[in-house]
């Protein structure tokens, strides 16, 4: 096993596509983080009194009113508008005290993880790339012959991809801190930290994200060995996620219906619930905002059961890949 992992190191340390995926993921994460900061730090545009007055004059119609009445009503509308605008600004400033905390050191790693599906997509791409390479170049023949033990060969691949996945998370978390330090360094506007991150729940949140990504990796590996290609699984992976989300919203799974709660065995559904619940417990602002107020999952099962369901999916994907690799005829 150690030899196989060493061979993987020689094999992939110079794989340019792999580095492109990693750098691309870091780039997209950076863009997501900074554009999020830009959105949250920029105050909404305020209209001046003259602009409001002009807008009221242009858009209002005072039928049968005298000039004095028109002037009075215009003044009232301008006042109401400016008052409402001021209320919005005060509310915005109040909200900023929370939202800008996302970019402070404590929240930044969770914020960058919650700003998109970067690590998930990158890990899925890497899984299909690494396993797909063997079929594409025909090296599955010589590699299986040299490794001799097929299960060990697959296990080494999974360990390699798992290690890369863990590395991706470490890089993204480090990037979050670096970007936050950068914002501090340039004197960017940040709110004083009041939303204290719960370390245990935050650890659980990152763990849940890793588990979800590993399940995606398992799915990618299983599909790649089933289809003997690294290209088709990319399309099918997206289709799979959408089909699951579509099924989970069908009326037959609604409360009081015969299949109520059945969608809790779906992978994407449980991943969302697991991440959301942990995000709230950890005070991860970005995750909390990302999920919004609606779409509250049923949440009939305890959290550990949600994790067990995701882990079971991962186990299923690995078992499919394992059986396929052990039983398949290599015709490449």
């Amino acid at each position: 096993m150690k030899a196989l992992l060493q061979a993987d190191w020689i094999r992939y340390r110079r794989r340019l596509d792999l580095w492109v995926i990693v750098i691309g993921m870091l780039l997209f994460s950076t863009i997501g983080f900074l554009s999020g900061y830009h959105r949250d730090v920029t105050d909404p545009e305020q209209m001046t009194e003259a602009q409001v007055r002009q807008m009221v004059v242009d858009t209002s119609f005072f039928e049968g009113a005298t000039q004095e009445e028109i002037d009075a009503q215009t003044e009232q509308l301008v006042h109401d508008w400016l008052d409402s605008q001021e209320q919005d600004r005060i509310r915005w400033d109040e909200e900023q005290k929370t939202t800008l905390q996302q970019y402070d050191l404590a929240q930044a790693p969770l914020t960058i993880l919650g700003s998109g599906f970067g690590p998930l997509i990158a890990a899925f791409l890497i899984a299909t790339l690494i396993v797909g390479d063997e079929f594409r170049h025909g090296t599955i023949r010589t590699a299986l012959l040299a490794a001799s033990h097929r299960r060990r060969f697959l296990a080494a691949r999974l360990v390699t991809i798992g290690t890369i996945t863990a590395g991706l998370f470490a890089l993204v978390i480090a990037l979050g801190w670096l970007l936050s330090l950068g914002l501090h360094a340039v004197g960017a506007e940040l709110a004083p930290p009041t939303e204290l991150v719960d370390a245990g729940a935050a650890f659980g949140l990152v763990g849940a994200e890793v588990l979800a990504v590993l399940a995606a990796v398992g799915l990618g590996v299983a599909m790649t060995v089933l289809l003997r290609s690294g290209a088709f699984p990319l399309l099918l992976g997206i289709v799979y996620a959408f089909v699951e989300l579509f099924l989970a919203n069908l009326p037959i799974f609604a409360p009081r219906e015969p299949l109520a709660g059945f969608q809790q065995v779906f992978l994407t559904y449980e991943v969302q619930r697991l991440v959301r619940t942990l995000a709230e417990s950890s005070n991860a602002i970005a995750f909390r905002q990302g999920f919004g107020e609606n779409g509250e999952p049923l949440g009939l099962l305890p959290l550990w059961a949600a994790a067990a369901i995701v882990a079971a999916w991962l186990g299923l994907f690995v078992a499919i890949a394992d059986r396929r690799v052990r039983r398949m005829d290599i015709v490449e």
């Binding site: 061979a7 020689i10 110079r14 025909g138 097929r150 052990r326 039983r327």
Partner: protein
């Protein structure tokens, strides 16, 4: 066992044993009951027209395909996908399988590491392997930029790396220029001389004839003939006798017909005969003719070439027949 010939002339334990080997792909029977022993050392040729089942047999032997029925053993250990003994087998099957983004050295290091070679062993074996296949000068260049011939050489180096006990080569001289072909043949001979057993599948019959000590000819998924090359080629061995005058040939024809009715005769032109007798009968034939004062101008042994044997055994198989018509 039908249609199969088991080579039992092997003194030592065979490196490869195949018993009742069958492989089906959907409706097609690629391999249809092979019994074959391949002895240790030397080069064993595996021949047959396209679709005869050579590559399927080789892939089963390399643990890449699961047999439908039957068993294969290498060094006495059963071979199936994932078998431990496969770590001692090198192969080059069809196109070279390499990592194009790695240098020639790193390609070899990947496989050397997987085979469990230590860094010290690799430091010796990898440059030596590259040197042996003539790629030492381009050791640091990426395999993706190699020509077909260079990739073939590198794949050969991978197959021979770490001193495997058995090396399976499927068309190893494909894509090589004439110098490369000569070098590879030399390399195969040298490795066989060092004790490595080599199974060579090739369509280049003179190459097989030149390199192989033993051959098996496959047809329709079965072994049509197998054994030491000279025995397989010896089938149909005849004595050729040429005389100075047609009258001498006619007299010899009558004499041999009366005195040696067990030797079928055939006229070969006006003044020559072909006698279906073994090479060891040549002196007896000469003596018999001499006693009758018939003195041949030439007495020789006519052995069929591998090409003749191959065509005789496989000509009615569709692929070969089609190729024949096309030519």
């Amino acid at each position: 066992m039908e249609g199969a010939t088991i080579d039992r002339t092997v003194a030592s334990a065979p490196v490869v044993e195949m018993r009742g080997l069958v492989k089906h792909f959907a409706e097609a029977r690629a391999v249809d009951g092979i019994d074959l022993d391949i002895p240790a050392g030397g080069v064993y040729g595996l021949l047959g027209p396209n679709g005869a089942g050579k590559t399927t047999t080789i892939r089963i032997l390399a643990g890449l395909l699961w047999p439908t029925r039957g068993a294969v053993r290498v060094l006495g250990e059963p071979v199936e996908p994932g078998a431990r003994v496969l770590g001692r087998v090198g192969c080059l099957i069809e196109r070279p399988a390499l990592y194009p983004w790695l240098s020639a050295t790193d390609n070899l290091r990947v496989f050397a590491t997987m085979r469990g070679m230590s860094p010290a062993e690799q430091a010796r074996a990898v440059p030596a392997a590259l040197d042996r296949v003539g790629l030492a000068a381009v050791a640091r260049r990426k395999a993706g930029g190699f020509s077909t011939g260079m990739r073939q050489r590198l794949a050969l180096a991978v197959a021979f790396l770490g001193g495997p006990v058995l090396v399976i080569l499927d068309e190893p001289t494909n894509g090589l220029d004439p110098n490369g072909v000569v070098d590879v043949r030399r390399l195969i001979k040298a490795l066989a001389g060092e004790g490595t057993t080599i199974i060579l599948s090739s369509h280049v019959l003179p190459e097989v004839e030149q390199l192989c000590d033993r051959i098996a000819i496959m047809r329709d998924g079965r072994i049509a003939a197998a054994g030491p090359a000279r025995d397989v080629l010896g089938t149909g061995e005849r004595l050729f006798v040429r005389f100075d005058a047609p009258a001498q040939a006619a007299a010899a024809y009558r004499l041999l017909g009366e005195r040696r009715p067990s030797w079928p005769l055939e006229r070969a032109g006006d003044a020559a005969l072909l006698v279906e007798a073994a090479a060891t009968d040549a002196s007896g034939l000469n003596r018999l003719l001499g006693e009758a004062s018939i003195f041949p101008a030439e007495l020789g042994i006519r052995r069929p070439s591998l090409e003749d044997v191959f065509r005789e055994l496989t000509l009615d198989q569709p692929d070969v027949a089609a190729a024949e018509l096309a030519s």
